[in-house]
């Protein structure tokens, strides 16, 4: 195993990676921006290096400063966490060229999967179903209308330069397309300097289901079940669970096999996630590929809880060329786990609300895990995403896990920043969430049903 590991990230994920590194006797090195100096991940590392000011370009996204910190501390390996430089192929290449171990898939695979069109073609060739759509930006409104007729409505009109849920609109017919084509294209030109527009089939009542894969050092690819991440606002996940309720068992097997096949086709190493959309009534469900994330996911803990393994440990072992800590082929999942993303945002409109944390009391007990990036007396700043902590519950059944979640949420106390704990309490009372029939439309439906505040 490697002697030392630099964690090129912050908050809860840096702390979580540092915890595993230290447990394995690996010297853990944190890097941080000036505003993050007081956070738990900095204090809990064996060494810490300040990178610069809060702006990600001057700290967590600054490859030169991170590589310099690695040199100065004699780090053997770099774990990128999620976000920031985790899916940046040229950074991964620089890490390897500096003679360090990159904890992730090869730069070539990151590059291949990072390109939406290449990724889609690659997995389609490996036998995975993909959503019908235009393979490149459409050339004008007339071309869009022709393409739409071939794909079929409803459609998602997407700015090709867009991201993070901006520059997207759903259309149900040609009139809608005419209107939105001009609107999205104009918006994209003003906002991103690129008027390019893509069309893709839209699945209104779909579920977001993703497969966790691990590409082992010996070239084997295994799937560690799937996760349902359909509780979303602004196309961003709020709650994830495994196993996915209401998923046809045959479809699940098919998805897992297709994800493994896609991983094998690209020679995947380390942890990765194949995201899919599942649509159709139970008994007649289908799925299509959405995208592949070539890194550890925020929601990896639900998989860890039901499979009883530490995914970060497996990542480090794979990166070091070692076999996994247990025989993964013999491993069986147990029970049900859910994760709730505790964000610094209001629970009604989900608008961000940073601030100084004056109270922070975490729930504890059997089957309750909290991965937190902050503590009492630390400040949530506007510079980074709003994730403060993840509450993970695990029990023998989904019903028992939901009961555990209810108790844990009631004993979680946060004051200072805005937070979304009340939303989760509301969610637990939502019939379609309790019975597991919910789709990605759930949060929008919940908010449409109550008066605006």
């Amino acid at each position: 195993m490697m002697e030392s590991l630099l964690v090129a990230n912050r908050g809860e994920i840096a702390r979580r990676i540092i915890r595993t590194a230290r447990r394995l006797g690996i010297r853990a090195i944190a890097v941080h921006s000036d505003v993050d100096a007081g956070l738990p991940f900095v204090n809990e590392a064996d060494e810490a290096v300040e990178l610069g000011p809060a702006a990600p370009a001057e700290s967590y996204r600054n490859a030169d400063r991170i590589l310099d910190a690695a040199r100065r501390t004699g780090a053997c390996a770099i774990h990128p966490g999620y976000g920031f430089l985790s899916e940046n192929a040229s950074f991964a290449r620089q890490v390897e060229q500096a003679g360090l171990i990159w904890v992730g898939p090869s730069p070539a695979v990151i590059e291949l999967m990072g390109d939406k069109i290449n990724a889609r073609n690659t997995v389609a060739t490996a036998g995975m179903p993909v959503a019908p759509g235009t393979p490149e930006p459409v050339a004008g409104e007339a071309a869009a209308i022709d393409a739409a007729a071939a794909i079929g409505y409803p459609l998602m009109v997407k700015a090709s330069a867009g991201g993070g849920g901006m520059g997207m609109a759903v259309v149900h017919d040609e009139d809608g397309l005419r209107k939105q084509y001009a609107a999205v294209s104009g918006f994209a030109e003003r906002m991103f300097g690129d008027p390019g527009v893509l069309l893709e089939r839209y699945y209104p009542d779909a579920r977001h289901v993703e497969v966790q894969i691990l590409g082992l050092a010996d070239g084997t690819v295994v799937a560690l079940g799937e996760r349902n991440c359909s509780v979303q606002r602004r196309n961003q996940k709020l709650v994830e669970e495994t196993p996915s309720p209401g998923l046809d068992p045959e479809l699940r097997e098919h998805m897992l096999a297709a994800a493994v096949q896609a991983g094998k086709a690209v020679g995947y190493r380390n942890a990765g996630t194949v995201e899919c959309l599942v649509y159709g009534e139970p008994g007649a469900q289908s799925f299509v590929f959405l995208e592949m994330n070539t890194r550890l996911q925020v929601e990896h803990p639900v998989t860890e809880e039901v499979w009883g393994i530490d995914l970060v440990e497996q990542q480090l072992r794979i990166a070091a060329g070692e076999p996994p800590s247990v025989d993964l082929a013999a491993l069986r999942p147990h029970g049900h786990a859910l994760e709730f993303r505790v964000n610094a945002e209001d629970p009604v409109r989900f608008l961000p609300g940073p601030g100084m944390i004056t109270t922070w009391t975490e729930p504890a007990g059997d089957g309750v895990r909290v991965d937190a990036g902050y503590a009492e007396g630390t400040r949530v700043t506007p510079s980074y995403d709003s994730l403060m902590a993840k509450l993970i519950v695990h029990a023998d059944s989904r019903e028992a896990a939901l009961a555990r979640a209810r108790t844990a949420l009631a004993s979680f106390a946060i004051a200072g920043p805005k937070h979304n704990l009340p939303f989760f309490v509301e969610l637990l009372g939502e019939p379609s969430f309790s019975d597991g029939t919910y789709s990605t439309a759930l949060v929008t439906r919940m908010r449409a049903a109550r008066p605006r505040t």
């Binding site: 993070g164 602004r234 610094a344 945002e345 609300g353 940073p354 700043t381 506007p382 980074y384 709003s386």
Partner: protein
């Protein structure tokens, strides 16, 4: 009547889409703030002319700071 729009929360100024003297219509996006990786569009509540615009792209705003005044 002047319409003053202030920041609801601590945020960074991501895009400034108008300048002093611009004529704007109700609902026009004037400035886009960014906080916690989320874009927050600031829109004109009513039509008028931009009379004050003390912010520029990259500025860091505290809660309550003036973003734009429309008269």
């Amino acid at each position: 009547m002047a319409q003053q729009i202030t920041a609801d929360i601590a945020a960074n100024v991501w895009k400034v889409l108008v300048s002093e003297g611009s004529a704007v219509a109700a609902g026009d996006t004037l400035v886009i703030l960014e906080s916690m990786k989320m874009e927050l569009p600031i829109e004109a509540e009513s039509a008028g002319t931009v009379t004050k615009l003390p912010v520029s792209e990259g500025d860091v705003l505290d809660e309550g700071d003036l973003i734009v005044e429309i008269t």
